[in-house]
């Protein structure tokens, strides 16, 4: 947001049935009213009674407040905001929505043994112990987690997430995987030095981020930063990222990542997804826990390659302060749109040689799909190291040097600009303590006023709570 362009689009829908958007002028929240027109207060006029909409939409007004509120005239219970992940760890992954199901798009038909999910967090852990402190295993631990406490009114039986989880594989994941392989080829230590000073951050929608990491894992060390659990009403559809993890688990389990490979921090770009209604949604959003600049410097890393869906995308708000601070500290940060890595026709290798390939193991699966290259062509592939001059292009003996891609790339010249948002200060020097919206990542729960015992998720009043009206009376 700027003074010149104070309105920022913060909601957007673009589906066959509807197209629209909401814009927000955040700065207004800090402005005092010009005058209080009390004479008008309470006057309601208008033609639109909104009876129809009003009956369809049940809006909870307490979504933005962490304060406790007393419910009902009898004051037998009250509501409070609790950390969503804490509640799930205690009361189960589907807290407040035990009768609802997860929906998986792109189910894989490949053989799958859910018993292997018990080792998911181990199989997807970074290869290097150096990166272990940064590894966030929350999501990867969720399949086998059991409910510790049964909320009043919920069924006695509990279905662990692993019993409903199915692997997925989509076309977008396939493309992301191939892009990851292409990047791994560029980071092949046999042909490129200087890569140890680079940390890569891939920030794509969950399943694609996982696929990209799988493809890149032959030369980069994936460090997953997925810090939430899936939920049937989750704002963040992290069950899809988890389902992608399950699909690629065999590959990760057998990956041959070199022990000194640069880190690849893996983020779900949906982690700050739009959230409006705590009566119908479970706020399992979270902020990225990317290592700080000083922490990376201790590992000898001074260069960051940030991968977004396209060149036109920017870092999410929760990274803005970090990125501004990183650049101010003298580290180098460049952006790469994943779509700059595109499919191309691989050259026929000369006799006795092999084609350009990331060389990633496919876990025994024969890969007959297209290869991807930086710039979309084998001849432009090594131009990556011209655009990102942190190493030198590799030109095999007798081959021509790389040529520049025919389309423009803005990522190499990207400079993060400080911007105020609910997740960033907008301070020019960046900030080590970015703000967080009130009640972010929390869920409203109902608490017995007399005992302080958590009775359940407030959202479930539209489900099991309505069948358990005696809760209101304590």
């Amino acid at each position: 947001m700027s003074d010149q362009e104070p309105f920022e689009r913060d909601e957007h829908v673009d589906k066959p049935g509807i197209v629209g958007a909401r814009w927000w002028q955040e700065g207004l929240a800090q402005v005092d009213p010009v005058a209080r027109r009390s004479a008008l207060k309470g006057i309601l006029i208008g033609a639109g009674a909104l009876v129809g909409v009003g009956t369809v939409i049940a809006l909870a007004s307490g979504s933005s407040s962490a304060a406790q509120k007393t419910e009902g005239a009898d004051e037998d219970f009250k509501t409070d905001q609790k950390a969503a992940l804490d509640m799930q760890r205690e009361y189960g992954w589907n807290f407040g929505a035990t009768s609802d199901s997860l929906v998986f798009d792109g189910k894989s038909t490949a053989p799958f043994d859910k018993l292997h999910l018990t080792s998911l967090a181990t199989d997807l852990a970074p290869a290097s112990a150096m990166f272990a402190p940064f590894f966030v295993r929350s999501l990867l631990e969720s399949p086998t987690a059991l409910r510790k406490t049964t909320p009043a009114g919920d069924p006695d039986t509990f279905t662990p997430l692993k019993d409903v989880l199915v692997p997925i594989f989509t076309a977008a994941m396939d493309a992301a995987y191939r892009r990851g392989r292409a990047l791994a080829n560029l980071f092949d230590a046999a042909h490129h030095d200087g890569t140890k000073s680079i940390a890569v951050i891939v920030d794509l929608p969950g399943p694609e981020a996982v696929a990209f990491a799988a493809g890149a894992s032959s030369a980069l060390d994936p460090v997953f930063l997925f810090d939430n659990w899936p939920h049937p009403k989750g704002v963040v559809a992290s069950h899809l990222a988890l389902a992608a993890c399950a699909y690629y688990q065999p590959l990760f389990a057998t990956k041959s990542t070199p022990s000194n490979a640069p880190p690849l921090f893996v983020l779900d770009r949906n982690r700050l997804a739009a959230y409006a209604d705590d009566a119908k949604q479970f706020d399992n959003r979270y902020v990225a826990r990317v290592p700080s600049t000083p922490a990376l410097a201790k590992l000898g890393i001074s260069r960051i390659l940030y991968i977004t869906p396209t060149d036109a995308d920017r870092e999410l708000d929760d990274l803005n302060d970090d990125f501004v601070y990183t650049v101010r500290q003298g580290a180098q940060l460049k952006l790469l749109g994943a779509t700059v890595i595109a499919s191309g026709i691989a050259p026929t290798p000369p006799p006795g040689t092999t084609a350009i390939d990331a060389g990633a193991s496919d876990g025994g699966v024969r890969d007959t799909g297209p290869q991807y290259f930086y710039g979309g062509d084998p001849t432009t592939h090594e131009w990556f190291w011209i655009d990102y001059p942190w190493s030198t292009p590799y030109t095999p003996k007798g081959q021509k040097p790389p040529v520049e891609p025919s389309f423009s790339r803005t990522g190499p010249s990207y400079v993060p600009m400080a911007r105020p948002s609910p997740f960033s200060t907008g301070a020019l020097s960046g900030s080590l303590t970015p703000p967080r919206p009130i009640a972010f990542g929390t869920v409203p729960v109902v608490i017995a006023a007399a005992t302080g015992v958590i009775l359940g998720a407030k959202m479930s009043r539209s489900g099991s709570w309505t069948r358990s009206s005696s809760w209101g009376g304590g």
Binding site: G17, V19, L44
Partner: protein, 189 residues
């Protein structure tokens, strides 16, 4: 700061040109823009809406200057946009104008969350101070649309616009509009 809400939803008999025009208004609205650019964008939109009033069949508008009601209702409009509360969830099929198909419809919605006590709020209050017997008159909708130039977007905390449907073969049918959830869209006279 307290808030006021102004919202309007218009339901037009389907017209491919009108639909394309309105869709372009939504799609071309920049991600970020300034107060004046916003005003210009809305004036252009209002002009196109006014130019197609002969196709306007139903509608609703509201103005509430009760803070809690304003915030609640604005969130409700946003929710209605972000979910499938009113839009179809399945296609209604392509329109075959040569076979005398039943009429199809589109709706266009705008809403403003206004800072209470500002000149814009006052102007909107005066604009919307309509006698009850004229609430559902077509002329009232015209009057309000024509008067929205009074809005200074420095006093607008948030605005939204949406079009139902995006694609022609998801247009609303008479049966859709007879559903309970569309009862707030009243026939105009």
């Amino acid at each position: 700061m307290e808030r006021t809400i102004f919202a309007m939803e218009l339901c037009f008999r389907w017209d491919a040109n009108l639909h394309a025009t309105l869709r372009e208004h939504v799609k071309s609205h920049p991600l970020s823009l300034g107060h004046h650019e916003k005003w210009v964008a809305y004036r252009n939109l209002e002009s196109d809406l006014l130019a197609n009033l002969e196709r306007l069949e139903r509608g609703c508008w509201d103005y509430f200057n009760d803070d809690q009601k304003a915030k609640h209702d604005y969130a409700m409009w946003v929710h209605g946009m972000m979910t499938d509360e009113t839009a179809r969830t399945t296609p209604s099929g392509s329109i075959d104008a040569y076979r005398g198909d039943a009429p199809r419809y589109l709706t266009f919605t705008i809403a403003f969350l206004v800072v209470q006590g500002t000149p814009t709020d006052t102007a909107l209050f005066q604009l919307c101070n309509i006698p009850e017997d004229r609430l559902w008159q077509r002329a009232t909708f015209i009057q309000i649309l024509q008067g929205l130039g009074c809005v200074n977007f420095a006093s607008i905390e948030s605005d939204l616009m949406y079009l139902i449907p995006r694609d022609e073969d998801w247009s609303l049918t008479s049966e859709d509009l007879s559903d309970q959830k569309f009862q707030y869209l009243r026939p105009l006279y």
